[in-house]
Symmetry: C2
Subunit: 303 residues, 2 copies
């Protein structure tokens, strides 16, 4: 069986896996993302390539230039902006993709996207990313769905734009909204901890325990997510919208609210034919999709 | 030379043309769109098919179901909602597409899109439509770019959604904004005519003569259009954005403002690589694209 190394450089952790061409994950590695991310990557590749591999796939957060094999801009991992990954391969061919695009390929190959001809993947984490699958192939576009502007006079975004979806609907948006509300005097059981170190999980737990601030913050973010989903349904008319990332744990509040809002806004006939479902590969989606790129190369892409 | 009939059912007029497979327009017909649009279509087809044709392509305003060959919903031409067009063909094969998708094929084949691997077409008229071309083929999706929500708490749209781009940036949006401002007491040379029968051309002319209300209304609509363009650049990373429709006549105010706004909002590297240009086929884009569908069938589409 052929083997490849899949790497997911998506955010706080670097994940790498040795993947078989049958989709099996033979071994997983995980390290925190530090400034010396290239040292981490070299060590991981050295460890995994012992067993003989075809090549390396990298899914990296940010805008990537596949032709030149480099990251154009990565707001979340500044140390990879402008960089390529050929050097980590030690002679092996390296395939570069955006992290959400890689996750979309992973879900298409082995996950929740398997049964759909076309789907939009949204990664709901610190930021919001996207990937478009059409008839079993990845649409070779930026798919920066977190940077659709949904508020004309909205907040300034790190990307240079304003009113971007991820400023209102991401994990960061939710924790910031809760922190700000507590600073402003809102009551919440979350005031018992350090309000500057809140995680989305803290907020989800508080919501589960009935905390009104947590519940309303998740719902508010969900309403914005619903706008983003409706826009993508109206534009891409997908068979499914596959939602990935830790925030999908808050399905009953955040995602249900999003679905309600999307239903209000999207064309009825397009909404009705789009299944809105949870991704199924969790943290493996990115490494599996990156490995898929190694096995399938240009055939991963539309035309 | 092979011949086909291309029909553009895009709005106030029905256009039909006899088109050669070399892209020549052999004959053009134009009739106003009435409730009896099917009678009009049959008469046009009868007239044009005298000279022997391969088939008929129809680009229709609204959501279309290509597989079933019928219009799902056409807010602008209610009489075609739910209808198919096989009967107008009198035995000839009929290909159905959305009108903006057909125009995108036309501009790709013979117009401003010819030199680009991928582009987004936007039709700027009464409403706002879109079509996505990727490596010389049409992406088989709804591309309802006029129904991206760009104002979270925006106006209600006929589509059922709210805050839709076309409520703020279309010809209808501009004339309505001017009429409302004049009702509210705003000064304008446009008060000399019937303010309830304003056309976009009236407003553009007034703007050209220095009328402040006309100028500001075009600029305001342009700013919203810029949000839409930025969103599409961030999502589709196109080589070009091709702008079609009568409103592009107001390039210096409306489109220039849109470009300025898009530049502020889109990822710099994606904005820089996207040419924003005017479509070149004018009213022929739709009929040519519809005829292209006849000549190329399924090969018009991605995969």
């Amino acid at each position: 069986m052929k083997k490849a190394i899949g790497i997911d450089l998506g955010g706080t952790n670097v994940r790498a896996a040795l993947v078989g061409s049958d989709g099996s994950v033979i071994r997983r590695l995980k390290e925190p993302t530090t400034e010396n991310v290239f040292d981490t990557l070299r060590a991981m590749v050295k460890e995994l390539s012992k067993e003989g591999v075809e090549g390396i796939g990298v899914g990296a957060a940010g805008l990537v230039d596949k032709k030149q094999g480099r990251v154009i801009l990565s707001p979340n991992i500044p140390s990879i902006t402008g960089k390529g990954f050929d050097e980590i391969g030690d002679g092996l061919k390296v395939y570069l993709e955006n992290d959400a695009n890689a996750a979309a390929l992973g879900e298409m190959w082995l996950g929740a996207g398997r049964d759909f001809e076309s789907f939009v993947l949204m990664t709901l984490g610190t930021g919001i990313g996207g990937g478009f699958i059409h008839r079993g192939r990845l649409l070779n576009v930026s798919a920066e769905v977190g940077h659709m502007s949904v508020e004309q006079a909205g907040r300034k975004c790190m990307c240079g734009g304003s009113g971007c979806l991820e400023l209102y609907a991401s994990a960061r948006a939710i924790t910031e909204a809760v922190t700000k509300a507590i600073e402003g005097g809102a009551e919440s059981i979350l005031t018992q901890g350090n309000i500057y170190k809140l995680t989305p999980e803290d907020i989800y737990k508080a919501a589960f325990e009935g905390d009104n601030l947590a519940r309303e913050s998740l719902r508010e973010a969900g309403r914005y997510l619903g706008i983003g989903i409706a826009n993508l349904i109206n534009i891409m008319s997908p068979d499914a919208v596959v939602l990935a990332g830790g925030l999908t744990g808050a399905w009953d509040l955040y995602i249900k609210e999003a679905i309600k809002e999307a239903q209000k806004r999207a064309f009825k006939s397009l909404f009705d034919r789009a299944s809105i479902i949870q991704a199924s590969l969790n943290d493996d989606a990115g490494v599996l999709g990156a490995a898929y790129l190694v096995f399938h190369g240009e055939e991963s892409y539309i035309c």
